[in-house]
C-alpha cells in the first residue's frame, strides 16, 4: 500500500477539524443516513446544506478488475479509478452524532465502502425528474438490502413535475414509501426531507412494535 500522503503526515501540514468543528468529548455514539442518487442530482448540495461542518470527502481507489470490466485484449494494464464520497455531520445532542453520506448512485461503487449501508438508519433517494431512470438501480438495491428509504424529488427549476402517484407507478414503489419534493440547496428543505425519512422510520418501528 502506498502511503502517498506520508509527506503531509510528517510535515506538520496535516489538516484537522476547525475549532468549531470539534466534537465534544461526550460524543458517545453516531448514526448514519445515506443520501443516494445519480451523478449531478444534488447529493453533495443536500449534504452541504444541512451539515454543521464543511462537507468532507473520503476517497477510495479501485482498479478495472474491481469494476468488473473484462479486458478483451488480455492487456495487463489496469486503470485506477478514484471514487469520492462526500459526507457531513449534524450533532443531535452532546452524546449523539448523525453523519450523512452522499453516495454515488452507481451500485458498482458501493462495495468500496464496505458496510456503508449496514446499520444505516435509512436512505434518502434523491431524484431528478429529467433523469428518473438513473435512480432505478439504486432503488432496486435498497429494496434487496432491506434498507428503508424515501424519495426526495430535487426540484430543479426546469424539471417536469409529475403527480406523486405517477411517480410512484414509474418507480414501482410500495404505497407507503414517502415521496416528497425538496430544494436541496435550502437547509430547511433538506432538513425536512431527513425528517420525512425519520418519521417514516418511526412509523415502521411503531408497526413492528
Amino acid at each position: 500500500m502506498d502511503f502517498k500522503s506520508s509527506d503531509t503526515l510528517t510535515s506538520g501540514m496535516l489538516s484537522g477539524p476547525r475549532e468549531q468543528d470539534v466534537l465534544p468529548a461526550t460524543a458517545a455514539a453516531a448514526v448514519k443516513i445515506v443520501i443516494v442518487g445519480g451523478f449531478g442530482v444534488g447529493k453533495t448540495t443536500m449534504v452541504g446544506s444541512v451539515s454543521e461542518i464543511r462537507p468532507l470527502t473520503t476517497e477510495e481507489t479501485m482498479t478495472e478488475a474491481g469494476i468488473g470490466v473484462d479486458d478483451d485484449y488480455g492487456s495487463e494494464t489496469k486503470t485506477a479509478t478514484t471514487v469520492a464520497m462526500d459526507f457531513g455531520r449534524i450533532s443531535i445532542s452532546e452524546e449523539l452524532v448523525l453523519y450523512l453520506f452522499g453516495t454515488p448512485g452507481q451500485e458498482r461503487f458501493w462495495f468500496l465502502w464496505n458496510g456503508l449501508f449496514e446499520g444505516a438508519l435509512g436512505a434518502v433517494v434523491l431524484i431528478d425528474t429529467r433523469r428518473l431512470e438513473v435512480s432505478f438501480d439504486v432503488i432496486g438495491r435498497l429494496e434487496e438490502r432491506g434498507v428503508p428509504f424515501i424519495i426526495a424529488v430535487n426540484d430543479f427549476p426546469d424539471a417536469p413535475r409529475h403527480p406523486v402517484e405517477a411517480l410512484r407507478t414509474a418507480l414501482d414503489l410500495e404505497k407507503e414509501v414517502p415521496i416528497v419534493h425538496c430544494d436541496a440547496r435550502r437547509r430547511t428543505s433538506s432538513r425536512d426531507a431527513l425528517l420525512t425519512l425519520m418519521r417514516y422510520l418511526h412509523s415502521l418501528a411503531m408497526a413492528r412494535a
Binding site: V22, E143, V164, D172, L195, L201
Partner: protein, 154 residues
C-alpha cells in the same frame, strides 16, 4: 432564480414528530407549467431473470478491526516521539472524538488504509473505539425520536 414556496414542505415544521406518518399528496399542482401527468419512463423490478451482480468480498478481514465509517475514535494518550507518522497523525487528530470517515478525509487516506492504522492502534491500546448505534431488527423508537428532535432544532 426564485423558488416558489411549497407549503407542503414548511407545514412539517408544525407537525408533531410523533404523529403517524402520512405520505403527502399535495405535490400535484396541475397549474404548474411544468406539470406532466405522464411519467415517460418506468422501472422494472429485478426478478429472477435479472439477478443482481454479486461481489464476493473477503468477509471479515481477520487483520482488520470491525470499524464502521461512523465509529468514533478517541486517543488514549499522546503520540510517542518514535511513533510512525500515520499513528502520530491519528493520535493528534483524535484528541477529541472523530469518526473513521473524518479521519480518512483529514488524513487524505482511503478508509481501508485508515482502518489498518486504527487496527494497529487499537491493538496497542492507544485509541478507544466508540461503536455506532445501528438500525436493528428491533424497533428503537427512542433513538429515532432523539434524531428527530435533533433535526427539528436545525
Amino acid at each position: 432564480m426564485t423558488h416558489p414556496q411549497d407549503p407542503s414542505l414548511d407545514s412539517y415544521d408544525s407537525l408533531d414528530p410523533l404523529d403517524a406518518f402520512t405520505a403527502p399528496d399535495s405535490l400535484d399542482d396541475v397549474h404548474d407549467p411544468r406539470f406532466q401527468a405522464e411519467v415517460p419512463v418506468k422501472r422494472a423490478r429485478r426478478g429472477p431473470e435479472n439477478p443482481e451482480r454479486l461481489y464476493i468480498l473477503t468477509g471479515e478481514d481477520s487483520e482488520r478491526a470491525p470499524l464502521d465509517l461512523v465509529t468514533l475514535i478517541v486517543a488514549k494518550g499522546e503520540p510517542s516521539p518514535t511513533a510512525q507518522p500515520e499513528h502520530s497523525a491519528v493520535l493528534r487528530l483524535c484528541r477529541t472524538p472523530l469518526s473513521v470517515a473524518e479521519l480518512s478525509a483529514y488524513l487524505v487516506l482511503p478508509v481501508s488504509v485508515v482502518t489498518v492504522v486504527l487496527t494497529e492502534l487499537l491493538a496497542a491500546d492507544l485509541v478507544q473505539a466508540r461503536a455506532p448505534l445501528v438500525r436493528s431488527a428491533l424497533p428503537d423508537r427512542s433513538l429515532l425520536e432523539a434524531v428527530m428532535h435533533g433535526l427539528q432544532k436545525l
